[in-house]
Amino acid sequence: MLTALMILCLGCVKHGPPSAAAAKGNGAAIVEVSGGNQIAAAGAVLEQPLVVQVNDAKGAPVASAAVTLHDAQGTTFQPNSGLTGADGQFATIATLGAQAGRYQILATAKDTGGKTVDLRLPEIALSYEATIGRHLSDYYCSRCHDQESSAERVSNYDNLIEKPHAFTDGAFLNRISDSDLTAIITHGGPAVGKPAEMPPYGATLHKSDIEALVAWIRAAADPPYQQKEIVYAQP
């Protein structure tokens, strides 16, 4: 009988949308396994699936717990709800909303008391400009600015005397104005009293390319970059 129920539950995960009645497991917490902090173009499918796990009070995975994802800001999911598998995990594919910016995807489950436990997964949707900037940055900048080294692409970070800042380093980069960032990229480090290790790209990239790079640096910043309000002269 129990086996039959289990099969029924597993069937639900695979096929139809689960009904609340089919959910048997109740956890104490919902945690992220993978899929947070991804970056994609606005409106695009996130490359990696979102995987969340429902745990009980002792931290052990809970099977057959109902998980729901909420489509705030136009994000859609395939599927948007379901039951956790035997490993306590639930996976879904997310498509970001059409607006560029920061997204907080909300995943919820019910705990044993029937209260909602939730998890927020931050994701970043890039504007067209930032997408171009990301592409340029991958090609021209990340060899030094990204510490991450792989066999396919070795980072030059360790070879530099003055260490470059990762473009995600919002704590540092958010304090530099757009015009200063543009000056560093265009004229190289010495333009703002930094070493010549940062070469000038003003004769290599177009003005629009450099604007795109600044847009990408702003989009990728962690903590997020807060755009300053433009101050207009009063009439």
């Binding site: 030059n156 290790e197 004769a203 604007e211």
Partner: protein, 681 residues
């Protein structure tokens, strides 16, 4: 009641003056309704909301001055655009509203085109002329299209853009996938400029399959290609077991057995031989093209050739030895170069590859000798499944146009599409479902199941949605031309050698070839002959950070001389003379150059001149650049690197002639160790 009506008629229309007065009042009232009706339009609240929002802003005066109430329209007869979307999306063209995240009032994010030139529906589709929310966005009448979900918006770029613009990553990926997954071998896809997408995959001919592999392997492979090789692009045809039995029976014994019996499989190599084989595999840089899945499940290596994780299960040792000896004998069009391995080396590599097996993979497959009936059924199945669209198979004609043409699939009328229950009733949803699970849309469909990630499915859908009627009717002047490979081929003995070694798999020359290694169009201006000859004989590492490197082809002196002479003579830039004197290389100049190298330009960040102190390894090592490159090339390179090699990582320094000359003087003095040995060809 009747009396009242008569009286009313008397009062209003009793005589001509009364009638005229009454009609006048009615006219006045109805004229007042017209502006009132505008107030009741669906777009009116949005315009009021917009005025309210900008009212509180510091730039309210400017914004209000540019705002007009009523219907807004972008009209461009050349493109057939009549778009009234900006009636509600009021702030679209106001750059200062980019931070506002309030639809429909915010500004459009920055794109390279002006809204007034292109309008909205060219990119977003939907009905531009409509002035109600429902009709403009969601119209699903047979002749009309609803708006495109944002994730496919790049497909609209593809109506004009045939170049691989960096702004359309998903479209580019999709078009690449159409070519590399063999989609265009069954479906014809013609781009708006009339060029057919040509396949870039290389499905093997099956004429000699019995020499290469076993019937059991073919059975297991067809059952699930991805279980054999996770990176396989071959789709799964979801054949049943008896179908697999018959197809493998038809495919494998059909090949004529070679006249001379193949040599017996060599004894399994001992550990030392295996190790030597692994070393040779590494030294020959097989991994530049072939991937192997490591213990952690990660793919290590390139994707030019097939994955070799389980190659020992597939390739018969005798065939493997023959293939490694000279792949061109078996397949003249292969991208695999003809390494000049000797017998011992061939045995080492064959032994090493033969050891790459997986005891689980074929364990469940046991096939009895086939009956003629089974073979006949196999032939029928192979023919009906369209196998000959990709593979050459003896006894079967190549199938042309096996599947429907997809040239205008982006404008497919929905009445022609099949939907399953519960599916979103739209063209993007239909195309996506067709790609993701082709056979789920109905019984008897032939399209096989591909292994694609969600992002790949999105990319393919984007590329197909770009194939619209509109793309073909747009003025040709709007088209951004595609970059197509040229048919360039080098001539003579050198040309034959370069094809034998497949130089063009990695290097491009005159617009033909790959981008894995440097473009060689002007190599003859760049390098010195002595160095090039030595490099041909034994390619050493110029860029230590690269994993993909030039393999050692074991060329003899004659071959190396032929290629070197050809490269030195033919591939020269017309922009300047290789032997131009740019520096007298005196000590003072070189010393200034050293200062510039280490301080002003900080070249050591990316290059190494002195291995003891310099560490940069993004650019090539320059320890012996003076015995490798010509002074004129170095000088002109420093003046403008992208002019000599497009897309080089070296930035343009806008360097003065003096700086470039002094740096050149410093660099040509770097002769390295090899120069002292005085090697001559």
């Amino acid at each position: 009641m009747r009396k009242f009506l008569i009286k009313l008629r008397q009062t209003l229309f009793g005589d001509s003056a009364r009638a005229f007065g009454t009609l006048g009042i009615v006219m006045l009232l109805s004229m007042a309704v017209v502006p009132l009706r505008d107030q009741l339009r669906e777009w009116s609240p949005y315009q009021n909301q917009y005025l309210k929002m900008i009212g509180g802003r510091a730039d309210a005066v400017s914004l209000r001055r540019r705002f007009e109430s009523g219907i807004h329209q972008i009209y461009n007869p050349k493109l057939g655009v009549v778009d009234r979307c900006t009636t509600c999306h009021t702030g679209m063209q106001e750059a200062s509203l980019r931070n506002v995240s309030l639809q429909p009032l915010n500004a459009h994010p920055p794109i390279p085109h002006r809204l007034q030139d292109f309008g909205c529906v060219i990119c977003h589709r939907g009905q531009g002329a409509a002035t109600s929310v429902e009709e403009a966005h969601h119209s699903s009448r047979a002749s009309e299209q609803p708006m495109l979900p944002a994730r496919y918006v790049e497909s609209s770029c593809g109506q004009c853009h045939l170049d691989r613009s960096p702004g359309t990553p998903s479209l580019n990926t999709g078009r690449n996938l159409l070519a590399s997954y063999g989609c265009v071998r069954c479906h014809v896809v013609t781009l708006p400029d009339g060029a057919k997408i040509t396949p870039t995959d290389d499905p093997p001919e099956l004429t000699h399959i019995a020499e290469k592999t076993t019937r059991e392997w073919v059975y297991g492979w067809l059952k699930s290609p991805q279980s054999y090789s996770a990176t396989a692009t071959m789709p799964n045809y979801q054949f049943k077991d008896d179908e697999l039995r018959d197809i493998s029976a038809f495919l494998v014994p059909q090949s004529p057995t070679p006249a001379s019996a193949p040599p017996l499989a060599p004894a399994p190599p001992d550990a030392a031989t295996l190790q030597a084989g692994a070393s040779l595999y590494g030294e020959s840089f097989c991994a530049s093209c072939h991937a192997v899945q490591n213990a952690a499940g990660l793919m290590v290596g390139g994707n030019v050739g097939p994955e070799l994780t389980r190659i020992g299960m597939k390739a018969k040792p005798a065939w493997l030895a023959k293939w490694i000896g000279n792949p061109k004998v078996y397949d003249p069009g292969t991208e695999m170069p003809h390494y000049r391995f000797d017998e011992k080396q061939i045995a080492l590599i064959t032994g090493f590859l033969g050891s790459k097996t997986d005891s689980d993979w074929m364990s469940g497959i046991h096939l009895d000798a086939p009956t003629n009936q089974q073979i006949a059924r196999g032939k029928q199945l192979v023919s009906a499944s369209g196998c000959t669209s990709c593979h050459v198979i003896d006894g079967l004609p190549k199938s042309e146009n096996f599947a429907p043409e997809l040239t205008v699939v982006g404008s497919l009328p929905l009445v022609k599409a099949l939907f399953k229950p519960g599916m979103d009733h739209s063209l993007p949803a239909y195309i996506e479902a067709k790609i993701r699970e082709p056979r789920s849309l109905g019984p008897g469909l032939k399209m096989p199941q591909f292994s694609l990630s969600p992002a790949q499915v999105q990319a393919l859908t984007t590329a197909l949605l770009a194939q619209t009627d509109r793309a073909r009717t747009l003025p040709p002047s709007m088209r951004v031309a595609g970059v197509y490979p040229t048919p360039y081929e080098p001539a003579g003995e050198a040309g034959r050698l370069m094809r034998d070694l497949n130089c063009f798999t990695c290097h491009a020359i005159n617009g033909h070839g790959g981008d894995m290694a440097p473009d060689l169009t002007w190599e003859g201006t760049s390098v010195q002959r002595v160095w090039l000859f030595k490099f041909m004989k034994n390619p050493n590492t110029l860029r230590p950070a690269l994993i993909r490197r030039m393999p050692k082809f074991n060329l003899d002196d004659h071959e190396a001389n032929v290629i070197t002479d050809y490269l030195m003579t033919v591939y020269q830039t017309p922009a300047f003379d290789r032997d131009e004197t740019v520096t007298h290389a005196d000590k003072a100049e070189a010393e200034n150059g050293r200062q510039l190298f280490y301080s002003k330009y900080a070249c050591q960040s990316c290059h190494i001149v002195d291995p003891k102190q310099d560490k940069g390894y993004i650019g090539p090592t320059l320890t012996a650049v003076g015995s490798r490159m010509n002074a004129a090339w170095i000088f002109h390179w420093l003046k403008g690197p992208a002019a000599l090699r497009a897309r080089t990582l070296e930035p343009n320094w806008s360097m003065s002639d003096t700086d470039a000359r002094e740096l050149t003087a410093f660099l040509v003095a770097q002769k390295g160790q090899s120069a002292k040995m005085g090697n001559k060809p």
